[in-house]
């Protein structure tokens, strides 16, 4: 839907896509490029390429799957231009490469402040989840962790889709309310 907005000429809608997928893409690129500063450059380049190629995106795959391929190709070309090789072929081609824990790579480059912020964010989200009523916690967990659609969640929870929509929203807002002081206090709003 957002993709269609961008395709129809709404340039700013692309910002929401960037905001949503940037961390996932950066994590992927970081696995390939290894250097955090270069990974940021490659990730930005991948997003620019994605924007330029968006008219050719037909929606036959999920947007992130398509973006993932662009990210891998951009990283590959970057490494070739640098005269370097990809870490391993399997890491590039495997669709499961994201599932491998790459936290260490990121953490190695994080400042103590960022490490503290990461820890605080994790604890805050977990605490907020524990404080949620069961129906809200189940709804957002089914969505964010299990990846179910609203219709599937409605079937699982035996309630209307509108109720699912409301529960997920209320859960997000309850967690976000606890997160905001942390995010607002972040030095460069980079988290």
């Amino acid at each position: 839907m957002l993709v269609e907005r961008v395709q129809s000429g709404d340039q700013e809608a692309f910002g929401l896509l960037v905001s949503k997928y940037q961390r996932r893409l950066l994590r992927l690129v970081m696995r390939l490029v290894r250097d955090p500063a270069e990974a940021e450059d490659v990730t930005q380049e991948a997003f620019i390429k994605a924007y330029r190629a968006l008219p050719n995106f037909r929606g036959e795959s999920a947007f992130y799957t398509w973006l993932y391929r662009i990210g891998v190709n951009t990283a590959k070309n970057w490494l070739i231009a640098q005269g370097r090789r990809m870490p391993t072929v399997s890491e590039i081609t495997s669709d499961d490469s994201e599932s491998i824990d790459d936290g260490g790579l990121l953490r190695d480059e994080e400042t103590p402040e960022r490490l503290l912020l990461s820890k605080q964010i994790g604890e805050t989200v977990n605490a907020a989840m524990d404080a949620l009523p069961d129906d809200l916690r189940s709804a957002i967990a089914l969505r964010e962790i299990e990846g179910l659609s609203y219709e599937e969640i409605a079937q699982v929870m035996d309630c209307p889709i509108g109720t699912v929509r409301s529960r997920i929203f209320r859960a997000r807002e309850a967690i976000a309310a606890r997160l905001r002081p942390l995010l607002d206090a972040a030095p460069d709003r980079r988290w």
Binding site: E4, G9, S19, Q22, L54, N56, S118, I121, Y150, L183
Partner: protein, 192 residues
């Protein structure tokens, strides 16, 4: 005001999950352009999802940098993809041509059925077959008195014209006089 913001945030949450209508997408993206609160909420929603999937790390937010570069790019307009033209079998065109010729030929050969049959044709037709379809019951009922009066007046006028045709300066019935008279006389209704 707060209700409106809450409603927008609820729409934003649904949009984040790709579970909203096209009309709402347009409204929410337009609102997000104007309201930093919505953009912050969007970022928070993304962060919450990543934390719940244990993907969250303190990585930089590159949205502003990327969008600065995107704004330098030409606006993307994706044309609606037209369905690929299906390649028709070549025999279909031939069959269509033959069918067209056959239709024209059939119309040409059977076209004279609209012309009134000649006398010999009528003689060849068994009585009752050709005119069996015409039934007085199918005809609309006429207004008897008025129709009879008009018919009488027309017949009287015909009588008058026929009787004075030789006095008309520019009116010649010529050889058809007899035929016209015959028709006129035959169409004349019988008076009670």
């Amino acid at each position: 005001m707060k209700t409106q913001t809450t409603s927008r945030l609820a729409d934003l949450s649904a949009l984040f999950d790709g579970e909203t209508e096209a009309m709402t997408v347009r409204q929410v993206t337009a609102a997000a352009r104007q309201e930093p609160e919505l953009r912050d909420a969007w970022r928070a929603y993304a962060l919450i999802g990543e934390q719940l999937r244990h993907e969250g790390h303190a990585v930089p937010d590159m949205t502003a940098d990327i969008m600065d570069r995107i704004r330098q790019e030409p606006v993307v307009f994706a044309p609606h993809r037209l369905p690929a033209p299906t390649r028709q079998h070549p025999l279909l065109a031939l069959a269509a041509s033959v069918a067209g010729i056959a239709m024209v030929g059939w119309l040409a050969l059977s076209g004279d059925s609209h012309v009134l049959p000649s006398g010999s044709d009528l003689a060849a037709v068994p009585p009752g077959q050709t005119f069996a379809r015409i039934d007085r019951a199918d005809l609309p009922p006429a207004a008897p008195a008025r129709a009879a009066a008009e018919t009488t007046a027309r017949a009287d006028m015909s009588e008058y014209l026929l009787a004075h045709q030789t006095q008309a300066a520019n009116f010649r019935l010529g050889d058809s006089t007899e035929h016209v008279r015959t028709v006129s006389m035959s169409a004349r209704p019988t008076h009670p």
